[in-house]
């Protein structure tokens, strides 16, 4: 009998020592979902001057009382460039709230003051946190920059403008997609769609692009300002390849891949296309070319950017900027 009791007591004691899960609970925190919202640690962005060109970053450090959605909005004082970072966490830190100098889309940030606003959309009556940083260096682009129109018209380039059109490089940091300058067309051509073009060429030979077309992206910033719309104006690109390597493009024997981009909005658009896809036209059909029919970026010898607009649409105006090739992904403004 005593042994039975002893067994019973020992068993009870043995299994009765369950760890009290005082700081461990099932499921999501109720505090996160239904608890009050407060900022436990104010925003700290570290350096108030940031040189992105040297790899510096802006890290947003902040601690909240609960997991909740937050939105960090950074806006350039002059460029109007905008970058937003969103998340759902109790803490903002290097893990989830870092700005490396990029924008969501064109325009890009310039050397300017950037205003920071942090909001909490799910927290009614929550404070709006503000701060600012000064950009002293722009982020370095990854890719093959052809031109950002910052250094004027190259002697190897060719320009065409109708007699009533002004087509040239303009410089105004507040209007450029990137940097200070951009290419501009402005004029009324009542008799023809052609407005003007600029043919960008390397100083010699090819652009020295990599050979693989499958992971190379062509990128250009484009902004239609007047005569805008998918029926009214577009850019026509010619990508000319020197298939035989003689340093001269012959349209009768070599590949010219064409691409159209019709305007949609009056904002800066990022035109981005995988080089390998240039062999297809806008309808998805394989283009007929006079060369070997292969998209070979290493043989690219010139890019013609041609602005066309509906003659019935009145004055046509558009900007182009920052022609760059990137690897593996489209350009990140």
């Amino acid at each position: 009998m005593n042994r039975v009791l002893l067994f019973f007591v020992l068993t009870t004691l043995l299994v009765g020592c369950r760890k009290l899960d005082k700081n461990n609970f099932e499921g999501p925190s109720l505090s996160d979902t239904y608890g009050p919202f407060t900022v436990l640690q104010d925003l700290n962005v570290g350096n108030y001057e940031v040189d992105f060109s040297t790899g510096q970053k802006v890290v947003f450090n902040m601690e909240l009382s609960k997991n909740t959605n937050w939105v960090i909005r950074i806006e350039g004082e002059n460029s109007g460039a905008v970058r937003t970072i969103t998340g759902n966490d109790r803490t903002l830190s290097l893990q989830n709230a870092v700005w490396t100098g990029g924008a969501n889309k064109y325009p890009s940030f310039n050397l300017e003051k950037a205003y920071i606003t942090i909001t909490f959309p799910n927290e009614e009556g929550s404070p709006i946190i503000t701060d600012s940083v000064l950009i002293t260096g722009l982020k370095q682009d990854q890719g093959y920059l052809i031109t950002s129109f910052e250094n004027g018209i190259s002697s190897t380039w060719q320009q065409f403008n109708q007699s009533t059109v002004q087509g040239n490089i303009n410089c105004d940091a507040n209007q450029a997609a990137k940097g200070s300058c951009f290419y501009s067309w402005n004029g009324t051509v009542g008799w023809d769609w052609a407005i003007g073009s600029v043919t960008v060429k390397p100083s010699s030979g090819t652009f020295n692009l990599p050979a693989s077309a499958n992971n190379l992206f062509f990128n250009l910033a484009f902004k239609a300002i007047q005569n805008v719309g998918p029926q009214n104006s577009f850019l026509l690109f010619w990508f000319d390849e020197d298939d035989n390597g003689d340093g001269v493009f012959d349209p009768n024997t070599e590949d010219r891949f064409k691409m159209e981009y019709w305007s949609n909005t009056m904002d800066w658009d990022l035109i981005s296309k995988k080089y390998a896809d240039l062999k297809y036209d806008n309808q998805g059909a394989v283009q007929e070319t006079n060369g070997n029919g292969l998209t070979e970026p290493s043989k690219l010898i010139s890019i013609n950017v041609f602005f066309l607009a509906n003659p019935a649409g009145g004055n046509a105006k558009a900007y182009a900027d920052h022609l760059i090739f990137t690897v593996n992904e489209p350009y990140q403004p």
């Binding site: 067994f7 019973f8 068993t11 299994v15 009765g16 899960d21 005082k22 609970f25 099932e26 109720l30």
Partner: protein
Amino acid sequence: MKHFTTLILVLLLTHNFWSQDRKFQVNGAARGYLFAQKMLIDDALDTINAPRANYGHTLVDLGFSIFPNSSTEIISNFRIRNEFGGFWGGGVSFNVRQLTLNGVAGKVVKYNLGDIDVKMTPYTLYNFQEEGIVNEAEVFALRRQIVHYDMFYLPENTWRMQGAQIAFGLKFNKFLKAIEFKGFLTRQRPTNGISIPERLYGGGMVTWKQNENLQFAYNNINLFDLKETINDSIRYSNNVHSGSMKYSRPINKTLKWGLDAEAGFSNVKYSNYQSPLAPEKQNDWFYDASFNLEDKKSKIKTTIGYKDVGANFFSPGAQTKRVDFNKFPAVFQQYTNAAVGRNVTIADMMNFNAGYSYQISEQLMAYNAAYNNVNPYGIATPNRRGVYLNMEQKDSLKFKKSFVQVAQMFESRGSGTNVKKAFTSIAAGMTLGINDFFKWKREILVNFGIRHDLTSRGGEVYEKVKLSSTLIDAGLSFRLVGKLDLLLGAKYFTAKGNEFITERTVFNTVNNFLPTTIDLSETTYAAGFRYKFSEKNQLLLNYQLHQIKNNVPAGINYGISQFNILYSLNF
């Protein structure tokens, strides 16, 4: 079909001849059930759903026991059901309700093949009672018996499965009295050959009987997917081990005390699941120990115990609910002009309108916190620890039955917060033979039961919980004349407060808490007449009125009236 009918007729005609040699027995049940139901709801609230639902059926369950030899029995049970409104075979269905082969091999091993009823311990395999009952009136119980009979929910809390089980024992002259072995293996689910593997469920018990007073048992049960039944290699397995002990010792001629204990653990594995929500494994344990005192004279047994069931203790056989609260009732599934799905009510559970379980569920099923928040998954409800006290008096001279049950439980792990919920449950009931008191010949049976539950949690304003509910059952059975009884019954249920309803993934992990306000009352009244042709043969005419008041904003008040005729015969 013709062959089947011929076979039945031949068997019936030859019944007497064979039964003399005990080669053959026929038993069964028959019933006729007719309903006329009406939805009682404000006309402005519902103009699109038909307010009446009338239906009925007659059925016969023909059971045959065949004894081909002295150690073998073949049991079969065929159901022929005819829905009212169908003629010349329309609406008639034939089903095999049971096919079982029982026997004893070598006069040692008992075996059952086919449809078997299995049960182990309350923490391994146990079919616990559904919600909404606390010593209910006979007029309700008669209806519920139909549900339990059809779903094979036997009073022994078994689950009906398909498979095989064996049992054998060894008796000893020295050191110990006996060792008994029991085991079963059932098929829970066939594979679809593509994405769902075949699932089996098997278990066993080894019981060591030291003497008349002391016994130990080892229990093990497994729910698992069979390997290589699909090309994909996902596999689920749930393994529960437990050890149990029973000890009893007389104090004197009338008093006896005892100890009961069970402790064990569960182990769940989700192998090769692609979902990022799938935990690799879930382990947890439980124990339940109680002391009891039994007075043979007064027939009162008192039990006091303590249990602790881990939050990740998952035992599908012990935690599968009888009623699936995710399913809409069979009658008046939708109501209001918005065609809102109607929730299962206490009356639906009684009237065979709810969705009932016939298989073990590896997922913790949805439950209604208003009806039972203390032990929604039975005794083995995970994440509960605390004390309980049960007092029960079996049939005595004064009381047919009486009981008191008290439980004070707590979460062992908080739900979304470190502050833990407390659960209090108090239930009491009695069935009284008034005629026994006054020594009347005419039987008057009164029954009464009450259960009050309270869930509470303190802490910050946003995490506070307070939910109370009360269920009252009352009934009267009065012999009017001859074999005619008047049956009266009432159920009253009310629940008020707030709770965070736990939402789980298919892997039983908690992924959300839904704040819910409850302000609900349900009343069910029933009155009827029963004519008992014999103990096994009766006719019941019954009117029932069920009303729900849902006082939360946008809550719908409605009622359902029902008239039904039930004729039942067991033979």
